[in-house]
Structures are given as C-alpha cells and as structure tokens.
Symmetry: C2
Subunit: 645 residues, 2 copies
C-alpha cells in the first residue's frame, strides 16, 4: 500500500465556518430529531423573549403560536413578546449570525449566554424548509415597526437580508415577533412544548404565556406575580477558581498600570486591603505593571488567590427563585397529589472557576405519589426547565450517587435514582451554567456544582427522615400519653375504692412514666389589609398581587420530666419571611431563626411561645421546624438537636 | 422601575470568537473537570495520531507519556506517532485554531471530524498553565524535523507562533510529537487513561500503543494484527434523508449546468437512470439549470428522492470492525470470565440525513459475570471508546428501552439497563457520528440510529434466548434418549427371558418414543500452511499475522420419527469467513449461509453434512447456527425455524 505524504494530506486542510459547523452538527444545538427540534425552537424563542423583557424591566407577555405550514411536516413557529424590541441594524446580527450577542461577555445570570440559540432556529428552519425567517420589531410607541426577512449565509456566518420594510404594528407599544418556518414532528412534540411552557411558568410566575396549538386550542399560563424577579447585576470575575490563562489574558487587556489597581478594578470581592494581602502573599510589588509581568509572577499571584481569605462573590449577580416561591410552586403543582409535606433547601451562593452559582432544592413527599416507581426529577437551570438528557445531567448524577436507603427510600445497591413517593426539584442558578452541550439540556459534571447539589439534596433527605422520625416518635408518645391518662386514673379509681381510700394525685406518676418534654405547635393565618409596618421592599415580595396574611405560630412546651428544665429553643423561619411580633422576647433573631433562652420550667409546668411572620402567603409556612439546645434531645418530643447554623 | 430601551441594549451586542466561546465553555469539549480533562487530552492526541497514520497507510506506533510538571497538578502530556508528519505551514493552523481541519468536508468515517479536538487541548493547556505547546513534525526521512512552539490568540482564533526551528529527529522516518502542559487530576484520571487506551486497543488491533505513566510504569498494548483496517473511501452525500436546505445550497455551489448532471455528479447512488426517474417523479425537466431552480422545484425534487427507489449508500465510506474481530476481541478480553457464549450481530449499513452509518453489537453471556448487577455496556463510535456520559447516550437509551424480561434477563418494570451476567458491546460507525456535544462522549438520540441499535441488540437478545432454549431442549431430549436406550433393552431382555422368547428389535419403539429429528454438530480446527486456494485479499483478513486454521464443521442428522423426512437445512456462517469444501453439494451459498436441500431420510436414517471455512482463527467460529425449512421445527432438536434472510 502506498504511503500518503504530509504534503498530499495538507491540501485537504480547510477552515470551517462556525455556522457550517453547527449546521452539520445540529444535534449539538438540540435539533437532533424532529420532535426535539420543535421543543428547542420554542424554548430558544421564549428564553430570548423572557431575557429581553427582564433586561428592559418589562413584565413579560409572551405568545407562542404554531401554525400548519404548506407541507405535511412544515410548521410556522411564532413567538411574540412585549419586550423592548431590537434596533434595526442589530436584527440581522442577532437572528442571522451564530456567536453574536450581548450576554456572553457579561457575568450575570441570564437564560441565553452564547448568542447561538435563536439564530440556530433560523438556521434549522432554512435547512429543513428552504425558507426565510421573518422578524418584526418595534422599539418605541411613536415609531413604526421594522419587518425584516432574512436567511443565514452559512459559509460566511452572516445574515442575508432578503427584505426590510417599515410596517405598522398598532397592538404593541414595543415588542418583537418572530415567524420561523420549521420542519418538525408536531404530533409527538406538542406535549413536550406544553410541558416546557408549564414548567417555565412554574419558575417564572411573573410571566404570562399564551400557547396556541395548531388546532386553535389555547393554553393560558397566567401571571401569578406582578413583580419582576430580582434583577441580576453584572459583576466582575471572582479571583477564586479563575484559570491562570484567563488571569494572564485579563492582565494583557486591562487598562490598569499597577498590579494593585488591576486587582481592585478587574475583580469582584477585591478591595485595596485584600489586594495588598494578595500581593504580599505572592511576594509581588503592588506597583508592578501587569502587562509586563512574567508567567511565574502570574503563577505566584494565582496561588496567592487561594491562600488569602477573599470574600465570597457578590450574590446579586444571581437571581434564585427562593425557598418560598419553590414551595408555593410545588404546592400548586402537586395539589391533586395531596402530599404529606414539602421541603425546600437553599444553599448559600458559591463559585466554580470564578463563576458564582447557587443551588436550590425542593422535595415533595407522600400523598398519592406512587411508592414503587423511581422518584420524579424536575431540573431547572437559570429558571429554564431541562426536559432532555436527564441521564447525562449533574443533577441526576448527584441524586443517584446518594445512598438513599439511609433516608428511608428504596434503592438497588445504594446507587441510582431511588424508588419512592417523592418529587425532587433542583434549580441551579449561575452566571455561567456549564451545560454539557449547546442544546442546554444537561449540566456538566463540574465537581463544585455536583457537591452543592448533593449537600442540598442530602439536607432535604435528612429533613424527610427527621420528619418521618418525628411523626413516628410523636405518635408513639401520644399513644402512651393517652393510655396512661385514661387507664391510670381508672386503675387508681378502682384500687382506691377497693381499699376504701381516697384517690391519690396522679400527676407525679404520669410525669414519671412519660419522662419527656412535650413540644406542640399550631399555625394560623390571619388575613390583613396591607399594613405599612409589614410592607417590605418590592423585591422582597415574590408575589405582591395576592392577599397578604400574617402567619401566626404558637408553640406549647410541657415539662413531663421530674426535674425542672432550662434550655434554649430555636424556631427556623423561611429566608424571605419578615418577622413580626415575637413573645416572649427572644435572645437572638436572624433572617433564618428565632432563638429563645427559656426560664426554668418546673415539673408539670407549661410554657407558651408565639411569633408572627409577614411577607408570606397562606400555607407558605405550614409546619414549625424546632430545635433545642442544652437539654438531652432524646427526652424531647417535637424538636431536634440544634446542630448550629 | 425604569424601562430600558432597545437602543441601550444594542450597545452591548458583540461578536464572540469561536476560540473564546470554547475557552469559556470548555466542559462542552470534555474539559469540565480535571479528571476528565486528562482523559480528553490523551484521547484527542491519540485519535489524531490514529487518523493520521491510517490516512497515510501507516501501521500506527503510538507513544503516550505523562510527566510531572513544575507545579503540583501540572503535567506534560506527550503523544508521539509514526504518522506522515505535518507540513510546516499547516502546524500552526492545525494546533492553533479551532474549526480547522481536513475531515469536516469529507464524507467518510474518521475519528476526528470537526478540527476542534487537538487545538482544544492546546487551548486548555494554556488556559490552565499559561504555557505554550510544542509540536515536532517530520515529513520525510531525508528532511529535518520542525519544532514549533505555539499558543492560541483566542480573540482572533489564530495561532501565536512563539518559535519555529529546524531540529534533528533521528529515531523516526516520519512522525509527529506533541508536548502540551496541562493542569489535570492525574491521580484520579490515570485509571481512565488506562481504560481508554485498553479499549482503543481492543477495537484497533492494528495499532501498537505504549503508555508511560508518571512513575515510569509502562503498559504496552501490543499490535495483534499487522493489517490496516479497510480504508474508508470518501463519498458524496446520499439523497436519502438530505435536508432541503442542504440540497438548495449544494445546487448553488455546484458546477453542473443541468439538473441531471447535478444529480449524478453531486450525489452517491445516483446513476443517470435513477436521476431520470427522480426528475420524472418530480415533474422537472432534467435540463433545468440547478442554479435557477425555485424553492418549489427543489421541494419537488426533495420529495421525489423519497419516492424513487435509490440504492443504499456505498458502504466503503465505512470501516466497521467486523463480527469476527469483535468476537475475537471480546473472547480475548473476557477469557478470565470464561463466558458461556459470545454472540455478534452486524446490521447492514444504512443512513440518517444522508449520512451512512452501521451498527455492530457483541454480547458476552454467563461465566463468572455477576448475576445480580446491571449488564456492563461497552460503547464505541468510529473505533473510539466512549467512557463518559453513558446515561445520555443513544446506545444506553436503546438498550434501556428494550423489555429484557422477554429475553430472560431481570429488569425493573421492563425499562432500564437489565440485570444479568452479560456484557454488551455496541459500535456505531458513521461518516458523521451525531455526538451530543463536542466532547464526543455520547451519541445523540437520532431515531434511525437508535432503531438500528435496537434491532441489532434485539437480534443478539433473541440469539441468547434461542441459545439458552436450545441448550435446555437438547439436554432434556438427550436425557430421555439415554434413558430409553438403556432401560428399554433391559426391560425387553427381562421380559423376553421371562417369556422364554427371543428379544424383539427395539428400533421402531425407540423411534416412536423419541419422535424427533436429532441434529448434532461438531467443530474442529486444522492448522494449515497458508494455501493459495484459501488466501483471500489482504483486506478481508482482519488479522494475517496469526496462524491460519481451517474450521471444519460436521453436522449429523438422525431421523427418529416414524415417517421419512425431507427438508432444507441452513448453516449460518460469519460474514468474513471464506467457504471451502462443502459436502454434499449445497443448493445455495451466499456470504452469510449455506443451504442444503436434503434427500428423503428414512425413519432411523442418518445423514452427514460437512463444510470448511477459511480466513478465521481457531475459536472464531465455535458453534454452528442451524435452521430448518419445510419441516415442523417443534420436532427438530438442534436447529430453529428458518425465518428468511
């Protein structure tokens, strides 16, 4: 066989255009089959609209329509929003070029990041139907709209503008409407579109989404909150976890002349004091010119980042859903299941490779959920539901790596998705979600993220276990209590009458037999007119359109032990609640708990504690989470051992 | 809250360089965590070397070395090959630009396709260590080598050449050596590197791979075949499944002036007769200028492709491993397990969206494989092992979607990876593997591919079932046979002596009780000197370095029924075997089976068939697969019903 030479092979080497690359590899963008192509197209359109509205501080009104096209499997996808519109000379770039956008270079949480999504839909449309896309955009009430018809020249990765006209679009003040012909499997795909939009609405209660199916059937996902989510703020990169190569590149591009100002101006959490500490740790002169630093000096700087204690990245670049909203959404979604309880856990924000992220978890347990099927997972990233690639997602892997048998769920060989009556919702919010591919359907196995998910899910699982345990323990003690308070007096009565003696007091005996501290609690909701005293800032209220209530919690402690008891009691409260009146005066109140130091309770003695919460809807807080300190928790019914914050 | 206008938002819009995109999204390329980054780096280097050697018709000699770097988690990855080398002016493009390569525009099976892999390793190296990569390349024995040091300017997606020198590299005639510093988790990653290289060696028996670990420990994966795999030929796109948009684009770029010549020159499987049929079906003049055709005309043409019967794409663009080689590799790999049997199935090549592909499956059953653990999957794409993202891969999904309970394996609720003593190997070969992401770790859920995998795996599963069934049935009949041929004569003897009569002939009685056609077979191997009569072409022999044997199969048929029997018998043979002497003369011989039409066999009669196979190693063919036709298969022991080809 003749050898082929390097010269012969060199003739075939060529550059590949990015549009050509994605056209050939359309499965990477989520267009691998005609069913998924439909869902991806809708998703890219809606994500874009939501991002645009939120960036412009507009409550999103989104309409998704699917019309039958000229051919059998050809459809026209329409997505219309009331966002700010797009200025004329940007339309062709946003829709007609891949890797063009506004969010790639900004560090803050948003749905779209890469400037690929919507132009990929245009590309897929022209690939499968040979037709062009239409974009109508209106940027101000007093301006006419622009109607542009465009295609993508894949060899150049540039838009081909077919036509551009001025049109009247009276219904909207501002907004964008896209019409893209696509060849998809509508019959199989439509239920996934519905599911995607429903789940989108769960985590975006501030958006109204109308979905018109081909047959005219219309679903309205109502807005349940008229407050925009906390807007995520653009931040600078955090020194923790930044790659050495990125650091060198940043120094080259920076306008700073001195190392110290490079550090303070280009990084977040880097005040002048911290910058100085870093320079000292790295043994570098703070007046060095960052452009002239050697690789070794950068390496020293890079190492120093990890040795000096630097504040966590500012969390205002993230816009988490919040425990209360997750609980409320799950409650709303699962009302037909009438679950036994719903638990939520929010981890504090942290970072991987300099990218802040935060994990939130919700767990629904019991009710009519099937007991012999795998737990259902609901995955979200930056408020976008993830429908496909569940098996390849870090969320799934984190959940599957937990030994659920310890928490009372069934699981073959201690690995894999557990079996049991539960739904687990996981939301990862980040300035850069590390998706496994551009189709954005699964989160890559970044260790820091997987660990945070595990911590959050395990915390949930422990709460489940504690809840079940507490229930069982309380029931047992209650049974015993009922037994002795009923039977003991009967025996005493009988014995006394037989001996012809007066009946003795049984309190002491009962206490001796019970030998516990009994803590019971009730929760009530009181409807209120909005009172200024409880009015919190607009942003703190995830839902200001609903009736406000005051949540009133009453805790009763009875000492059924033979000795006086003195201990501390903690009541954990949701992070987004506002604490009102607390009785008696607590020794400490934080945003997460109230702490009482209780006076000595004599044997048989009783104590009552109450607190009020505002900023919540009825049912948001429906069970007290109580902990005790400085008392043997084995003798306490109704509270667990305080393990610290 | 103040609205933000479209004009304000427009200011942030920017182009994103492709290198910048992948630098930020390095997890998409398989660099998501430091363990995987090591495996990905080795993989990209080795894949590149194997592709280069095969393209140049050179038997690959590859050395992989990992050295400790200056820092704790810094390592130097070295991959060296004896390939054709790279001409000087191409080195900077191949290693210093993403989306640059020779294989993207060619339709044929190769490991690398996108021109991303190896430059991504360079990018990852500079990102994590701030250091440059070194490439040494020698393109001819009489020429010196070139040593180039380079980095990637991510803003421009171009190489930055740090230095370029001429050096002596005596040991090699031609070859390439790369040295890339990378920051990885070597401790955790090294066993995956070993696994990757071992699996690579399984499906690339023509390559020798030497792996030197950091501590000097060296693994040699020996070459077990000195014949290069059949070289895949570059083909034109196949009309079946091509997208309308691609068709229009091809017409625009074509030099053909007439529709008919456009069809015959730009597509595969499109002769002038087929082209004419297509034009007629589309109602188009075959002399139309393809550049002037309307979208509607292209649409008609596109529809006609699906209505006219067009030959399958030529399969020489694919280079499957082959059933024999898969079986041999699995046998070699599982010898410690001493499995009960190994089964292989090759599907005929087919196409998705105009891309030819072929599925091959191997199944190992029994032996010491654990009975209560999930079946082990081994996934390969274009001869490259897939180690990660198993859950998100079409191979896994296809296997999990089969109801394995029907085939005798345990499986919860008829879905998921089955439990049982089996290993399933799946190889997908294609001119374009639709990976879920650029890290090339999982195949996307393209329906056509998933269906082919299901068909192949189900065929394997049926063979497993049949094997187990046949074994049980044969054992039962054999027990019965032994019983009556031992006990019946004893009874006859006793009865005869008691009655003082001569013992009757029992043949008829035995036949009556047995009531079956008994088919037994044996296989023997005869070592041979290479005989020209059996010498096949170089390509047909996946392994010419080993001793050749002739495989001799002998089939014995005994008619234990009371009536004469006349039927057809089929013996299935491996596709890559060459048929030698067959006795008696068969009525038909194809590459897959031998068919005999048997003369009438009288009751108690016996018939013997033999055939010889060449081109196989000892053990490659170790069990006959026999089928019968024109006889009730319920009465046949040792063969199943012939279901057609």
């Amino acid at each position: 066989m003749t050898r082929v030479t390097a010269e012969q092979l060199a003739k075939k080497q060529r550059e590949i255009s990015v549009a050509e690359f994605f056209e050939r590899n359309k499965h990477i963008l989520g267009f691998g089959n005609p069913t998924r192509a439909l869902v991806t197209s809708v998703k890219e359109g809606v994500d874009n609209s939501l991002d645009a509205c939120e960036e412009a501080n507009i409550l999103p009104d989104i309409v998704v329509e699917i019309h039958q096209g000229e051919e059998d499997s050809e459809y026209l996808l329409v997505v219309e929003d009331n966002g700010p519109g797009i200025v004329k000379n940007q339309i062709q770039h946003i829709f007609g070029r891949l890797l063009y956008g506004s969010r790639f270079h900004a560090i803050r949480q948003s749905r779209g990041q890469q400037g690929i999504g919507i132009s990929a839909v245009v590309l897929y449309g022209q690939l499968t139907t040979g037709k062009h896309a239409k974009v109508i955009s209106k940027t101000a009430e007093n301006k006419p709209a622009v109607l542009m018809e465009l295609a993508i020249d894949t060899n150049r990765n540039r838009a081909e503008v077919i036509s551009s006209n001025t049109v009247q679009w009276e219904e909207k003040t501002t907004g964008t409407r896209i019409e893209i012909p696509i060849k998809v499997d509508y019959i199989r795909g439509k239920r996934f579109v519905y599911e995607y939009l429903k789940n989108t609405s769960i985590v975006n209660p501030h958006a109204q989404i109308i979905y018109r199916e081909v047959d005219g059937n219309t679903h309205v996902f109502e807005r349940t909150s008229d407050v925009l989510p906390k807007k995520s703020i653009e931040i600078k990169p955090h020194p923790y976890g930044i790659e050495l190569g990125t650091l060198i590149k940043m120094a080259k591009l920076s306008k700073a002349r001195k190392l110290s100002s490079f550090l303070t101006t280009e990084f977040s959490s880097m005040g002048s004091r911290t910058a100085e500490l870093v320079c000292r740790e790295a043994n570098l002169d703070k007046n060095l010119n960052p452009k002239k630093m050697t690789r070794e000096e950068f390496l020293a700087l890079h190492k120093a980042f990890k040795k000096v204690k630097i504040m966590a990245p500012p969390m205002d670049c993230l816009s988490p859903i919040g425990e209360t909203l997750i609980k409320r959404s799950l409650k709303h979604e699962t009302q037909e299941i009438s679950p036994e309880f719903i638990i939520t856990v929010s981890r504090p924000p942290t970072a991987y490779s300099g990218n802040p992220f935060q994990v939130e978890v919700g767990l629904v347990y019991g009710g009519t959920l099937p007991k012999d099927e795998p737990v259902k997972l609901m995955r979200f990233a930056n408020r976008v539901p993830l429908l496909y690639q569940q098996g390849g997602c870090a969320i799934t892997q984190a959940i599957a790596s937990i030994d659920w048998r310890r928490y009372g769920l069934e699981q073959r060989s201690g690995r894999g998705i557990p079996i049991g009556p539960a739904i687990i919702l996981v939301h990862v919010a980040s300035t850069l979600i590390p998706f496994t591919s551009e189709s954005k359907e699964a989160i890559a196995d970044v260790e820091e993220i997987e660990n945070e998910i595990k911590l959050a899910v395990r915390a949930c699982a422990r709460k489940v276990q504690r809840h079940i345990h507490k229930k069982v323990k309380r029931k047992k003690t209650r049974d015993k209590f009922l037994l002795i308070t009923k039977i003991l007096p009967e025996i005493a009565k009988k014995s006394s009458s037989m001996l012809n003696k007066p009946m003795p007091s049984l309190d002491n005996v009962i206490t001796k037999i019970m030998d516990v501290i009994w803590i019971d609690d009730t929760i009530e909701y009181e409807k209120i007119e909005r009172k200024p005293a409880f009015q919190t800032t607009l942003y703190d209220n995830p839902d200001s359109s609903k009736d406000r209530v005051i949540t009133k919690s009453r805790i009763t402690i009875v000492n059924y032990k033979q000795k006086p008891q003195k201990f501390n009691l903690y009541a954990v409260i949701p992070g987004d609640a506002v604490i009102g009146e607390v009785k008696p005066n607590p020794v400490k109140t934080t945003s997460r708990y109230i702490k009482w130091s209780l006076d000595t309770i004599p044997p048989g003695g009783k104590k009552e504690l109450t607190f009020e919460l505002a900023g919540l809807e009825k049912g948001d807080f429906d069970e007290n989470e109580l902990y005790v300190e400085h008392v043997n928790p084995a003798y306490v019914i109704g509270a667990d051992k305080w393990e610290g914050e």
